[in-house]
């Protein structure tokens, strides 16, 4: 098999998976009694119809998915199954609001970095409990990170109903953060904020780390086979696992901080519609490549932005989009398996 074909495969897999998803989603929509053509057209118009729809909706929705997607991709590269990005995002958002509200008079150059650092630190802290349980006690991280998500959601609920509740006392939400803490707009006249650029810079940084540094090599080695990495005697797997947890948690926490500083300007119950879970689809479709996550996050941002339009214009419930996300994951897995079967047969024969 030619090397040229091999380098094409990741993009080809993603494209095939998306096509398969489209076909299955169309069939399911038809089964549900909705004309698939109308639904897809409405979705497409909602996501890409005008420049403003694309920038102020699709790219803005893509931003938390970009950051959480990077968090998942980095952890999964090390075979750390962090399913807890949702909880880490909530921890980050809470910390960001708490810090920003506590610094009312400060200049933006002080308060914005402080806010975002607090968010990253809180996300890392939230990930440290499952990390300690995995490395210290051998408890699998899948179930612990999942359980931590629920703890974070209820903690957020508790804080916005009680200690952090707005002074007006009308809604279950925090006070608005001071204007100095708002992230600046990236493109004037749109709602796209600095967070999107931060996401792209982190994607580049992670890609450089993974492909160009010894630390990145160690992380990929542990991901390929933790036992082999350990047995080789060159390095220990545990610090790598810790790094994967903490970096992943920090980036997911940052997603929460960026969302409150850039879009909502306050914290409330139900801040995230499940970005931490959608992020798994984002990362997998990108084949865990940080640069590709930028593209797949925009794809899922478009799904999210188009979902509302699909409900409004074609009467298809917006929750359909959640189902489509699951179809993407399954399609990637299935296409991947088929490719593996094909290529291994090819190399043997």
């Amino acid at each position: 098999m030619s090397t040229r074909f091999r380098t094409l495969t990741p993009a080809l897999t993603a494209a095939t998976a998306l096509l398969a998803t489209l076909v299955v989603a169309a069939a399911l929509l038809a089964l549900g009694g909705y004309p698939p053509g109308d639904a897809f057209a409405a979705l497409f118009r909602g996501a890409f119809g005008t420049w403003d729809r694309f920038v102020s909706f699709t790219l803005v929705r893509a931003t938390p998915l970009l950051l959480t997607g990077l968090a998942i991709a980095f952890a999964f590269r090390a075979r750390v199954w962090n399913i807890g990005a949702e909880g880490q995002l909530h921890a980050g958002a809470l910390a960001a609001v708490a810090v920003a509200v506590a610094l009312p008079g400060a200049h933006g150059l002080v308060v914005i970095p402080a806010t975002l650092l607090a968010a990253a630190a809180a996300g890392a802290l939230w990930a440290s409990a499952p990390a300690a349980m995995k490395t210290g006690m051998g408890v699998g991280e899948v179930i612990t990170t999942l359980l931590m998500n629920f703890v974070a959601l209820f903690m957020a609920q508790f804080l916005v109903q009680g200690p952090l509740r707005e002074d007006r006392g009308v809604f279950n939400q925090t006070n608005e953060i001071p204007p100095a803490a708002h992230l600046p707009d990236l493109i004037p006249g749109t709602r796209l904020h600095l967070g999107f650029l931060i996401g792209i810079l982190i994607a580049i940084a992670l890609w450089l780390y993974l492909t160009r540094t010894p630390g990145g090599f160690r992380l990929r080695a542990v991901g390929a086979s933790p036992r082999a990495a350990e047995v080789s005697g060159r390095f220990r797997a545990q610090p790598v696992v810790w790094l994967a947890f903490l970096a992943s948690g920090a980036i997911a926490g940052l997603a929460g901080g960026v969302q409150v500083a850039g879009v909502t300007h306050r914290m409330y119950e139900g801040l995230s519609p499940g970005w931490g879970y959608t992020a798994i689809a984002v990362a997998l479709l990108a084949r865990l490549n940080p640069l590709a996550v930028v593209v797949t996050a925009i794809v899922f941002g478009a799904l999210s932005a188009g979902g509302g339009a699909m409900q409004r214009d074609a009467g298809v419930p917006e929750v359909w989009v959640r189902g489509i996300e699951a179809l993407v994951i399954l399609a990637v897995l299935a296409v991947d398996r088929s490719w593996q079967a094909l290529t291994s047969r090819g190399s043997r024969g």
Binding site: L28, G32, G33, W81, I83, A129, M133, M137, G138, V139, G140, V142, I143, T144, L146, L147, M148, F150, V151, F154, M155, Q157, F158, Q161, G162, G274, Y277, T278, I280, A281, L284, V316, P317, V319, W320, V321, R322, G323, I324, E325, A326, L327, I329, L330, L333, A334, D336, R337
Partner: protein, 306 residues
């Protein structure tokens, strides 16, 4: 019997909340003993709840239970087709099945009943009082004045214990979970065993979901599974993959959930989100404690053939 009043109502709530956890966890015990961890269990629970609701509207409460069981099994079949037959990663596949199930059940529910949030009223499954046993002070009404789902959970404990540890097929199933290579060499059909174990877990989780809609609440709401499937997986670990300890762990969690009602009755100003978080925090604490060190089946979550 008045002195048992508070204790009795706490126990009634505890057992009622433990039943869905016990059903889902007992099923998952079989699946994990065969080497498959199904994070998609949450998906089977929510399909069971919706299937139960739709089934009950058409066929009455018991028909609803049956439809719920089948719906849970269908979700598990999708998981098994990928994770066992296609041999995809169990964790990622299970996560996808959960996300998709929460999405599609919401979509079906909204298509059928609208997005207005109007509460749906379902025919509920009545409690059956076991003669004599239900008269035992305090524990009697809690354990022996429950719906049929509770009795099925009790029944599953000895049946699964006998099957897993006393029969040849049970031995073969555990062999598949410990060492699929050795089981395969001994002539055990690894893929089929795993498929059946996963589907069984899905059927049980479907019953757990139907319990939520047809026994516990009498209605359906989107996302009403609320992480029960995930807690059930923690319950399996705490119960050391042994049915009798699994049901004990489920009762412990039912008790933790029931505690919020008892404490709120004492002081209504206590912040309820903290009590809602309690079962999840307890799960984590228990996993971190002595339970965490217990041995999982060695082949758990590993693909086969490798």
């Amino acid at each position: 019997m008045a002195e048992f009043g508070a204790l009795s109502s706490f126990l009634v709530a505890a057992v009622g909340l433990a039943v869905p956890l016990a059903l889902a966890a007992l099923g998952e015990t079989v699946s994990e003993r065969a080497g498959v961890i199904n994070i998609g269990l949450e998906g089977s629970v929510i399909w069971g709840a919706l299937g139960g609701a739709l089934g009950a509207l058409a066929l009455g409460p018991y028909g609803g239970l049956a439809v719920g069981v089948l719906a849970g099994g269908m979700a598990a079949l999708v998981f098994a087709a990928f994770a066992v037959w296609l041999n995809t990663d169990q964790i990622i596949t299970g996560t996808a099945v959960t996300i998709g199930s929460l999405g599609f059940t919401g979509a079906v529910f909204q298509s059928r009943f609208g997005a207005t949030g109007l509460a749906l009223e379902l025919p509920t499954v009545p409690a059956w009082e076991v003669p004599l046993l239900a008269r035992i002070p305090a524990v009697g009404p809690a354990f022996f004045d429950q719906a049929v789902t509770a009795y099925l959970a009790y029944l599953l404990v000895p049946v699964l214990g006998w099957f897993l540890f006393r029969t040849r097929r049970g031995l073969a199933l555990r062999a598949v979970g410990e060492s699929p290579e050795a089981a395969h060499a001994a002539g055990v059909p690894v893929v089929w065993t795993r498929m059946l174990a996963v589907v069984f877990a899905g059927l049980a989780a479907g019953l757990a979901g139907a319990h939520l809609s047809l026994v516990h609440t009498g209605t359906f709401a989107e996302n009403m599974s609320a992480g029960k499937g995930f807690i059930a997986i923690a319950v399996v670990v705490l119960g050391r993959w042994n049915p009798k300890w699994v049901i004990a762990a489920a009762l412990f969690f039912g008790g933790a959930e029931a505690l919020q009602f008892a404490l709120q009755a004492v002081d209504a100003d206590l912040p309820y989100p903290l009590f809602l978080a309690l079962p999840y925090v307890l799960s984590l604490a228990a996993l971190a404690g002595w339970f965490g060190r217990s041995q999982a089946p060695r082949g758990l979550a590993l693909p086969w053939p490798r």
